[in-house]
Symmetry: C2
């Protein structure tokens, strides 16, 4: 660290950038949960240009699961609006490379896979709104239990666009009703990271058969005075992309998000 | 009506004022539900000055059931902030006059009961936020069923002040979870008319024994895909006042509110 004075903006840039540099240099290869607290994290989806326009329309039609917070220019691995020196090829802990819908590699960078026709989409992640919930004194069960958030495929169809179609995936956090009301108020302020919940209570109403068996992540305890609260989840676009079996795609590895320089508070609508 | 041009403010004043004049002249003696749509309505509590300060503190401590939208000067029956020519002694359809906690009269005006030491409190009423919910396309069950909103005494204590203490009273509207989330978002914008709900789902958690037997108002149907959603209710201050058995008090008669010149949209916080 230099000895020059650091103003608040500098602090802010450092926190996100330091997390990215740790990913870039291979010091972090696992989850980004709790990294650079207060900074927005994003899901990554990289597609060839010929599919990118349809995927962009899909996100536009389904803003709750797919809130876009950054898009690269075609073939350009930078997204300066999310980080001045951000390099999407190196700055996540780990990637998943897909061919024809099949996972072919899980590298810690995608320099060797980058192409001039690729477009990178960064989609807001609920790790970000959890920070706002905890700042308000709410307890996030899966953080309390030291596991991943439980996620479920629903029977709620997304609006289709081009080859992209399929059901909404939701994440679940249990709260007592008073805290659930507070969580609805808080997350309403953050449409860029999935916004307000889409459902609470009876899981069967959105096609979830067994709340104890999430399709992704880990099951968490729901106490007798609590109700499960369901948010649209950034796993949705990844699930939808893979279902469409594109000839080529790259995503983040589960739990290893892009850490941005943007503060969650910058995305608040009020 | 004069032949002079009417601008929007004039329209606005007319609507609330016309409703009050109809009450003042005895044309309306029952409910004010659906009167002067879009105008805030208020619960009325009138107390002698020696009790008014403690009641004001009670409201300050319990803003969800007791959101004050207007207070008169001691002995002055006008509240110009709610209506230029408003006269609190005549402008409600019907009043209840209480001595030592007992109902002694239900007159259509209180001119004969007015005293130089009385202070009138006007407390926001949920009739107002129902307008905002319906404007968003939500269906209010008790309006659909043509009856009064069901209200329940809870086991949730209000914060006490002076002689004023007792449990929160809530009103209940059933919604499916998606509409309940929307209702939470909409009513959050209106703290002056009770704001966001205080509870949803399991009624026993707030001490309600039988949802089919409201303590005030009428029972409504709750469909299998719906949950009851509970808001702090303006009946709370009236219930609390009567429990404290003040030597003198005047309230509105159930369902017959003060119609103000203020639009509900003026009270939105965003």
């Amino acid at each position: 660290m230099s000895m020059t004075a650091r103003h608040p903006l500098h602090e802010q840039l450092q926190a996100g950038r330091e997390a990215r540099l740790a990913c870039r240099t291979g010091q972090i290869t696992g989850t980004t949960a709790n990294l650079a607290s207060g900074h927005v994290q994003g899901n990554l989806a990289i597609l060839p240009e010929k599919l990118a326009a349809a995927f962009h329309r899909f996100c536009q039609l389904n803003p709750k699961p797919c809130p876009i917070i950054g898009i690269s220019e075609v073939g350009n691995p930078g997204i300066p609006s999310l980080g001045i020196d951000l390099d999407i090829r190196t700055d996540l802990p780990r990637y998943r490379v897909w061919r024809d819908g099949k996972l072919i590699e899980e590298p810690t960078d995608i320099v060797a896979h980058w192409r001039d026709d690729l477009v990178a989409f960064v989609i807001g992640c609920s790790f970000s709104f959890e920070h706002a919930l905890m700042a308000d004194g709410l307890t996030i069960r899966h953080i309390e239990q030291g596991c991943n958030v439980p996620m479920y495929r629903t029977n709620v169809p997304c609006a289709p666009a081009g080859p992209f179609a399929g059901p909404l995936v939701v994440s679940m956090r249990p709260f007592n009703p008073a805290d659930a009301i507070r969580a609805i108020q808080i997350t309403t302020r953050f449409p860029a990271v999935h916004g307000a919940p889409v459902h609470f209570g009876d899981a069967a109403q959105i096609g979830i058969r067994d709340i104890a068996k999430p399709d992704y992540g880990d099951a968490v305890t729901i106490r007798p005075d609590e109700v499960p609260v369901f948010w649209a989840c950034g796993v949705t676009p990844q699930s939808i992309i893979l279902q469409s079996r594109p000839d080529f795609a790259i995503t983040h590895a589960p739990g290893g998000m892009l850490v941005t320089d943007r503060r969650i508070s910058e995305f608040a609508i009020q």
